[in-house]
Point group: C2
Chain length 250, copies 2
């Protein structure tokens, strides 16, 4: 079994190594990860400049590569160059250092890796730990990662596109897995104004995460209550309810 | 009425000027567009470097700004800096030089501008002409752009998130507007291998657009048949059918 692992934090991030090691229990693993952090890069693809790919080394049945592109580029280059045009059996993305709950999926490079896999009909799961720090404790999450990978593989299905988030709590506090929808939320950025040494203005975007959904069936609700959340995602963004409502408007 | 216009091709692209001029029939227009092309940048946001914003000038009731960021950054900076933290009444994105039908929405900066607007509850429409060239003929599309803007505004609704595509055909061949779903399709990229002067390999991604959907109710089908297509989009990517199917799996 051939498994591709990608992420958006870069090949040096502990999260991707944890994910590769869990995946290596199920098959041969290839990691293709960006050579610098690509958080917030969403589904960007690199079309107007060339890409580099470097083999970094091997650890057991895991081969590591770095790529100069985005997470979506990593998936594309891995399939075409490392796998020689054949599809991997599974693609796992992460483990992200930071939450990909709620509307965060729109900005997420980790979720873009997942979506790119789903677009090519490879079953895929994205994993995120709700802790941004580089030395985050992935330990409590790892048994759940293994369980979810196992169920994904055991299902034999090709159309899996799941995004999994784990709250940053001690192992003994985690209550299990909940399958649930995305909450509605948004980032409300302030544009912090500064001046450069020549007196010209520039701006830093600095965001506050605003919840707009008090539902008790969302990923944010269950993560608050110490559950690992699993949300199936779709790359068909058609709003079918709205489609019915406006189909005779024109 | 305050209208924000953004795009992903850059402030110098003819498409954004056409869109601003149509929008200026309905209210005061502010254009905030990237200072270089940002196609394929999806919903990337700029968090680790500062952003620049320059006022370029005025044309009637249209003010033009360039921004060093992505389309999503343009929306955020426009709201915080140009509008001083108040929301515009409408956000229009485009007119993109190139198609944003089918699964292209995943990669699209034009659609990211639309989604960013929708996340902040501003009614929004993205417009794309299915012709990549810089000197594309926008003329046949413009009466439809005006009609759709007019219906968006007349509806009084806050939750509009529509993506509109126009095939590149002469005005007399356009048959009208069809409200329809996204087709399933994908980009199958080849990684073209080259060597730099020092003998090191690099790769260019070069894609073929592969249709995977023969439905007669899709944007690709109707665009093939010379209709302007309108697809309502959602930023809630939860796959609710799959959610029902797997809710008891864990």
């Amino acid at each position: 079994m051939k498994i591709l692992v990608v992420n958006d934090d870069g090949y040096f991030a502990p999260g991707v190594k944890h994910l590769a090691r869990v995946a290596s229990k199920f098959g041969q693993v290839v990691v293709v990860a960006p050579d610098s952090p690509r958080s917030g890069q969403s589904h960007a693809v690199t079309l107007v400049s060339p890409l580099r790919l470097h083999e970094l080394g091997q650890e057991g049945n895991i081969r590591y590569f770095s790529c100069s592109g985005t997470p979506a580029d990593c998936v594309k280059l891995a399939i075409k160059v490392v796998f020689g045009g054949t599809m991997p059996d599974y693609i796992f993305s992460g483990i992200n250092h930071g939450s990909n709950t709620a509307s965060n999926v729109v900005y997420s490079g980790t979720v873009a890796g997942l979506m790119e896999a789903a677009l090519t009909d490879v079953p895929a799961v994205a994993f995120s730990l709700m802790d941004h720090s580089l030395d985050a404790d992935f330990g409590p999450f790892l048994p759940y990662v293994e369980q979810i990978m196992g169920k994904c593989i055991a299902s034999g299905r090709k159309d899996i596109c799941w995004s999994v988030n784990c709250p940053a709590v001690p192992a003994e506090d985690l209550k299990g897995i909940k399958v649930c929808r995305l909450a509605k939320a948004l980032w409300d950025e302030d544009a912090v104004e500064r001046q450069d040494p020549a007196g010209r203005k520039y701006y830093w975007l600095q965001g506050d995460f605003i919840r707009k959904d008090e539902g008790r069936d969302t990923d944010l609700y269950y993560a608050d209550h110490a559950y690992v959340t699993l949300t199936p995602l779709s790359f068909d963004w058609t709003d079918y309810r709205e489609l019915e409502r406006i189909k005779d408007l024109f």
